[in-house]
């Protein structure tokens, strides 16, 4: 039996009995021992590996809320305002002007087969409030073949004139979601089902079809690995037969660099079918594939004005958001899965949907009391304090969308939520004060995957324009590091296997070139991830 001992400048363990160490011994993919140099002498046959001697080791990061769609989107060109690294380590510079966007579009189009339409993603018009983005802007870059540009929210798209013609909607009017220009003709901005339908119909496929492929899962894992993640969710997986097969295939490879936790999309199945599906899948897991949770979507997003808010609703007076399914049906689903002994991850962005879901969980607990259910509210961006106390009483975990502070903080401050609610936007410190199990997340591809960046958001609470939102809700660096490791592992019911460096757990380690505990907190996001170990296997760029 091979034992390897790594030593480092400092090992941050998340083990309260031994928070720090310098040496870690690995055998058979698991942690054999953590401790001092002296303590390692007991393992006489061990080999020593010094490659991380100048580095800092942490438990492998756990991303508790992201989507494999991240892996699918990198099949296409990226046009976002913020820079982003793809699966092959190529950094796509953020685009700060329309001209830069057009330039990138031309560059990217040159790499795509002439017969194919050009598909790009990530553009966010929110950052160009004075520009009218329409088909003419795209035509100026490319006019001889169809272009489809998904906005950052993946909900709205802008197409060029060639695509309008291909879809047969260059002349229509009076259809909601097909915006008209000054000349009374469609100007290229499309949303809603009808427009999506004709675009997907004309393309002959949907970009979302790729999500279940092994190639997507491979790419997803490479992106995760680069950001130091060793356990990652796919938090809305339909668990189709094809999808499950792909999950099994990739995780059977010993070199696959992450553990996957797919959460079953509740609304894809009736509760009875869903329960049966999940039990069927459970026996098909392995060390790198953990079935179990269910994901329920309740409302939309705050920046998209589709989240359900309590009075006084949206700061700028926009109408309240929409439910993803009838509220009673959402509650019924919670009751069903709770009773069946299954853990629920529940997307609720707005505080009204939080209220509905706390009601549902409270009723479920009255009917079928369950200890340690670990139902987790996801995003829960503007929970109020009474709701936080109630969540604590009900044993609910929170996985809070910390990245929002940076990416949409300015929008929330000025348009959607206003000053006071932004003081408790992402109420991280309050969750800790109430001892609520806490994780933080990126929701990739909605924002880029990167737990160190997410931790930076939780600690600094700065918006993209540099405004600090809610200083009383800042996490300390150790708290933020716990939220991206053991905290997230707890919400996935995997805290006995990953999330800390302790004897017996999987040897999942993230290697950093700087010490997150002693560097300036503002540097957290800039720390380089040198490598990860998953089950003792080293994964790095070499």
């Amino acid at each position: 039996m091979m034992t390897t001992i790594y030593h480092a400048k400092r090992i941050i363990t998340m083990n309260p009995s031994q928070p720090e160490a310098t040496h870690i011994a690995v055998r058979d993919g698991r942690i054999l021992a953590v401790g001092t140099e002296e303590s390692m002498k007991d393992f006489v046959d061990a080999s020593y590996d010094s490659r991380f001697e100048n580095d800092f080791l942490l438990p492998g990061f756990v991303e508790g809320h992201s989507h494999a769609l991240e892996g699918a989107l990198w099949s296409y060109g990226y046009l976002g305002y913020f820079g982003r690294t793809d699966a092959d380590g190529h950094y796509w510079e953020g685009l700060r002007s329309i001209e830069a966007m057009q330039h990138r579009l031309r560059e990217y189009a040159a790499t795509v087969d002439k017969a194919s339409p050009i598909i790009v993603w990530g553009f966010d018009p929110v950052y160009f409030p004075n520009e009218r983005l329409d088909c003419k802007v795209l035509d100026a870059a490319i006019n001889d073949r169809p272009v489809v540009m998904f906005h950052a929210n993946l909900h709205v798209l802008t197409v060029n004139t060639a695509m309008l013609k291909l879809a047969g909607i260059d002349q229509v009017e009076g259809i909601e979601g097909i915006r008209l220009g000054d000349d009374g003709k469609p100007d290229g901005e499309l949303q809603e089902m009808a427009a999506m339908h004709v675009v997907f119909g004309a393309l002959g496929y949907s970009i979302f079809d790729l999500v279940a492929s092994t190639e997507t899962l491979q790419r997803y894992a490479r992106i995760a690995r680069r950001s130091g993640v060793t356990t990652i969710t796919d938090l809305y997986n339909p668990l189709t037969a094809e999808g499950v097969k792909a999950l099994e295939t990739v995780t059977a490879d010993s070199r696959y660099p992450v553990r996957l936790v797919p959460a079953m999309a509740a609304l894809n199945w009736s509760p009875e079918e869903g329960t049966a599906r999940l039990y069927d899948c459970k026996s098909r897991g392995n060390d790198k594939l953990h079935f179990g949770p269910v994901k329920l979507m309740t409302d939309g997003s705050i920046q998209g004005y589709t989240a359900r808010l309590k009075w006084p609703y949206y700061h700028d007076g926009s109408p309240n958001g929409i439910w993803n399914a009838p509220p009673q049906q959402l509650k019924d689903i919670v009751h069903h899965y709770h009773q069946a002994g299954i853990q629920l991850h529940i997307h609720c962005n707005g505080d009204e949907s939080v209220e509905l879901m706390l009601d549902a969980i409270e009723e479920a607990q009255e009917l079928w009391p369950r200890f340690d259910h670990r139902h987790t509210l996801q995003h829960c961006q503007i929970m109020d304090h009474a709701q936080l106390r109630r969540a604590a009483r009900l044993g609910v975990c929170l996985n809070i969308f910390a990245n929002h502070l940076y990416y949409w903080g300015d929008i929330h401050r000025t348009r959607t939520l206003g000053f006071e609610r932004c003081q408790r936007l992402e109420p991280l410190a309050s969750a800790r004060r109430l001892n609520i199990p806490l994780a933080i997340h990126s929701d990739a591809p909605v924002t880029p995957l990167g737990p160190l960046f997410t931790a930076w958001c939780a600690v600094m609470r700065l918006s993209a324009s540099g405004v600090q939102l809610g200083e009383h809700e800042k996490l300390t660096v150790p708290q933020a590091l716990e939220a991206i490791t053991l905290g997230a592992a707890y919400t996935l019911r995997l805290d006995h296997l990953v999330g800390s460096l302790e004897i017996g757990k999987f040897a999942d380690i993230t290697v950093l070139e700087e010490d997150p505990l002693t560097c300036q907190p503002d540097r957290l996001k800039d720390i380089v991830v040198k490598a990860t170990l998953v089950g003792g296997e080293v994964h790095d760029d070499n």
């Binding site: 259809i175 949907s206 929409i322 439910w323």
Partner: protein
């Protein structure tokens, strides 16, 4: 448009709130005969009643719509699924879409308005006449309900006392002044019983588990139940009933009551924090006797339900 191209596939959208009777309506259309190879898209397979009479209906002609995420289109959406269906199948003779209880049917109808292959046949909105005012004023779903009404070409009202029609019509017109209003012909209580609406008194009788020699069934709904009759039933079948638990919305009582039955003893208490509906779970010894009990309990629900229809159709606004 001056000429209608009859080679276009007609699309019908069926809207209406949860429990309004969309599935019942759809079932009736299926039984009444649909064009050859009609494609039906429903929200929740669990709700559609594919019984023996429909066995000829091809299974793959019903698509269960998987709800995507409203904020980021993760997973399938109606638009994608419909596009995919039209790519891979021979053209269906008609398409019927059962909209989700919170969807805006107008957005679905738009698909037919711009598609080269579809034409809009009709947008129907089913309305539960006994609960319409409640739905309209509900702070959580009132807006969605009103939007659904406004999108319809035809309003189909059920569970309404004929005496209330005039009043109801006036009230409905404020949400949609142009739609054609039709009433479902009231059935005798007998026929109501054979066609329970899907959600209101859905005797789910969910077979939660049937493993070993245990059998479990559950009931839920907003119908009020005669408490004494339930007590009588439990007493009569207690030799096969191990455990019963849950909330009961009892007749002639304003609060929900918590029922506990174990060790042969029945215990009631009022429940302070409980859903305003009946939710009961029964666990017993699987077998004929327990099946009888299950049927008897369901019968209780139906009896109560028909009495509810009478109750709620009493002149509320007179």
């Amino acid at each position: 448009m001056t000429t209608i191209d009859y080679t276009l596939i007609p699309l019908t959208v069926i809207g209406g709130f949860l429990g309004a009777g969309k599935t019942t309506y759809l079932n009736r259309l299926i039984q009444g005969g649909l064009p050859k190879d009609a494609l039906i898209i429903v929200n929740d397979f669990g709700d559609i009643n594919i019984d023996a009479a429909l066995i000829d209906y091809r299974d793959d002609s019903i698509i269960q719509l998987s709800n995507g995420c409203v904020c980021c289109t993760l997973g399938g959406t109606l638009a994608e699924q419909l596009a995919q269906a039209l790519r891979i199948r021979a053209a269906p003779g008609a398409i019927l879409i059962e909209a989700s209880g919170v969807a805006n049917p107008a957005r679905i109808a738009d698909i037919a308005r711009i598609s080269r292959r579809l034409r809009l046949a009709e947008v129907v909105c089913i309305i539960d006449g006994s609960r319409a005012r409640q739905h309209a004023e509900n702070p959580l779903i009132g807006e969605a309900w009103q939007t659904q009404l406004a999108a319809a070409d035809k309003l189909l009202v059920n569970r309404l006392d004929p005496a209330d029609r005039q009043e109801s019509e006036k009230w409905l017109k404020q949400f949609n002044s142009w739609a054609h209003i039709e009433y479902e012909i009231e059935r005798t209580p007998d026929s109501v019983r054979t066609q329970p609406s899907p959600r209101l008194l859905k005797p789910k009788a969910k077979r939660l588990s049937s493993h070993g020699h245990w059998h479990t069934f559950s009931l839920s709904g907003r119908t009020r139940i005669d408490k004494e009759r339930l007590e009588t039933l439990i007493a009569a079948y207690q030799e096969v009933l191990f455990r019963a638990k849950g909330f009961l919305l009892a007749e002639h009582s304003s609060s929900t009551e918590l029922l506990q039955f174990s060790g042969g003893r029945l215990h009631w208490q009022s429940a302070l924090r409980a859903p305003q509906e009946t939710r009961l779970v029964f666990i017993g010894i699987a077998g004929e006797r327990f099946s009888h009990f299950e049927q008897a309990v369901q019968g209780l629900l139906r009896k109560s339900a028909s009495s509810e229809i009478v109750l709620t159709s009493e002149p509320a606004a007179k």
